[in-house]
C-alpha cells in the first residue's frame, strides 16, 4: 500500500518522466498551443479536474506563484497551460498550499527559479503557521535538462517545513 502523508513525508523520485506533450494532447489542447508552450522555460500545468462534466480546476496559489515568478524572473519565458474554453478556479480554503505541476523545460530555469519558489512556499507556510500547526504541501516538479538529456521528476506530499530543504538539496550535476 502506498505510504500516506499522515505517516510522514512521502518523497518519490523513482517516477517515470512526465510525458508532457502526450499529457497536453490528452487534455485536448490544440497543437499550436502545445508547440508554443514547449518552447517556454517554465510551464505551469493544471493538474486537477473537478465537477461533472469534469472541467479544469486551477488553484489561485498556482496562478499567484506564476505571476510572482514572471515578475521576479522576467528573463524567463513562463506560461500557463490551461483550457481557455472551460476552466474554473478551485478554492480549497484548507491548511494546504496546493501548487499544481511546474515543468522546468530548461536547466537554467530551474537554477533561477528554485530558490524563489522554495522561499515563496516558505513565506506562505510562515503566514499560515499563525493559525495552524500542521501544514502540508503536495508538490510535483519535473526538471528537464535537454542538453544532458536528463529528466528529474519529484512528487512530494507532507509537511510544508521540509519543502525548502528538499528543493534546495536537488542540485542537478
Amino acid at each position: 500500500m502506498e505510504k500516506s502523508p499522515k505517516d510522514g513525508p512521502v518523497l518519490r523520485e523513482d517516477l517515470p518522466p512526465l510525458e508532457l506533450e502526450k499529457m497536453l494532447k490528452e487534455k485536448g489542447y490544440g497543437s499550436e498551443d502545445i508547440a508554443s508552450w514547449l518552447k517556454k522555460d517554465i510551464l505551469f500545468v493544471s493538474s486537477r479536474k473537478t465537477g461533472s462534466p469534469a472541467i479544469e480546476a486551477i488553484t489561485p496559489e498556482t496562478l499567484t506563484i506564476k505571476k510572482y515568478l514572471s515578475q521576479e524572473k522576467n528573463s524567463l519565458k513562463i506560461d500557463f497551460a490551461f483550457d481557455k474554453a472551460g476552466y474554473r478556479y478551485l478554492e480549497l480554503l484548507s491548511a494546504e498550499i496546493y501548487v499544481g505541476i511546474i515543468v522546468f523545460l530548461t536547466i537554467t530555469a530551474w537554477d533561477l527559479a528554485k530558490g524563489f519558489i522554495s522561499s515563496w512556499l516558505y513565506e506562505q507556510y510562515k503566514g499560515m503557521q499563525k493559525d495552524s500547526k500542521d501544514l502540508n504541501v503536495k508538490l510535483e516538479v519535473e526538471i528537464r535538462d535537454e542538453k544532458k538529456g536528463r529528466i528529474y521528476h519529484i512528487k512530494y506530499a507532507g509537511p510544508a517545513d521540509k519543502v525548502a530543504e528538499i528543493i534546495k538539496e536537488r542540485e542537478l550535476k
Binding site: P60, Q71, F82, L93, A95, D131
Partner: protein, 260 residues
C-alpha cells in the same frame, strides 16, 4: 493578554484617497497635531477636512468618510483605552471606513485600518452575543474553538475577477496581495459552486466552525458567575464572547455535546 493590534495601531489616522492643495495642507496640519499628541485639536481639523471633500467623485466621497473616521479615532485617543467610550468611537470610525470602502472598495489603507479596528474591538471588548427573546446565540469562532468543536473545510470552484482591472486574473499581471496605485490587488470570487466539504479539527476559514448550541437563561446561570448571570438574564448587561470564554476555561467545558 496578548495584543494582536495595539490601541495606537487601531487609532492611527488614514490618508485621504485624493487631495487638492488646500486639503493636503490641512491634512498635514492634522497629522502634525496628531504626532504632537494633541488629539482633540487633530480631531477638529480632521472633521473640518471631511467637509471639504464635496466633489461627487468616488475618491472625494471616500476621503470625506475616511477623515470622519480619523475624527472618531482622535476622540477615542482622548478616552481610557478599555472604556465603553472607546468602543463607541471606534465602532463609529469603523462604520465611516466601511462607507469609504463603498466608494473605493479595494483602497488598501482603508481595508487595513478597518481590519485593525475590528481585531482591536474583538480582542478588547469581545463580540456581543445575540438574544432572540429566549436564548443567547453566538457565532464567534473563538467560542467554538474553545469548546473544541470541529470546523468545516469547504472546497469550491469559482470564477475570479482581479480587483484592480476587473479581468480574469489569468489574463492580467496584477499579483494578489500587492498594492497598485494605493489599491489592494485581490482575486474576487464570483459564481461560487460548492465542490466538496470536509470536517476538520481546525479550519483555515475561521467562520466555518460548527456553532455552539443556543444558551438558555438556566444554562447561563450554571456556567457564569452568579451576579454576571443575573445581570445578563435581566438584560442589564449584554453577554459577550469574552464572558463565555472565561466560563469555558473556568468550568472546563469541552466537547461536541455543545454543538448546535
Amino acid at each position: 493578554m496578548i495584543r494582536l493590534v495595539s490601541f495606537k495601531e487601531a487609532t492611527k489616522p488614514v490618508s485621504p484617497a485624493a487631495t487638492d492643495y488646500n486639503q493636503g495642507e490641512l491634512f498635514h496640519k492634522a497629522m502634525q497635531l496628531y504626532q504632537s499628541r494633541k488629539f482633540p485639536q487633530a480631531g477638529k481639523v480632521f472633521l473640518t477636512l471631511s467637509k471639504l471633500f464635496t466633489e461627487a467623485s468616488p475618491q472625494s466621497k471616500a476621503s470625506s468618510s475616511a477623515m470622519r473616521a480619523n475624527y472618531f479615532k482622535m476622540c477615542a485617543r482622548r478616552a481610557e483605552e478599555n472604556s465603553a467610550q472607546v468602543k463607541n468611537f471606534l465602532g463609529n470610525a469603523l462604520e465611516c471606513l466601511k462607507q469609504a470602502l463603498e466608494n473605493e472598495p479595494y483602497w488598501a489603507e482603508y481595508l487595513e485600518s478597518g481590519g485593525k479596528i475590528e481585531i482591536f474591538l474583538h480582542q478588547t471588548f469581545g463580540c456581543e452575543v445575540s438574544f432572540d427573546g429566549k436564548c443567547w446565540s453566538t457565532t464567534c469562532y473563538k467560542v467554538s474553538r474553545a469548546l473544541g468543536l470541529p470546523g468545516i473545510s469547504p472546497g469550491m470552484t469559482e470564477r475570479l475577477e482581479c480587483s484592480i482591472c476587473g479581468k480574469d486574473p489569468m489574463l492580467c499581471e496584477h499579483v494578489p496581495g500587492e498594492i497598485y496605485d494605493k489599491r489592494l490587488a485581490l482575486n474576487v470570487a464570483k459564481d461560487i459552486k460548492c465542490d466538496h466539504v470536509s470536517i476538520v479539527d481546525e479550519p483555515m476559514q475561521r467562520e466555518t466552525y460548527v456553532l455552539p448550541e443556543p444558551l438558555t437563561a438556566e444554562k447561563l446561570k450554571q456556567i457564569l458567575p452568579k451576579r454576571l448571570a443575573e445581570d445578563i438574564v435581566a438584560r442589564r448587561k449584554p453577554l459577550t464572547c469574552k464572558d463565555l470564554l472565561d466560563a469555558i476555561q473556568k468550568n472546563g467545558l469541552h466537547g461536541v455535546s455543545w454543538a448546535r
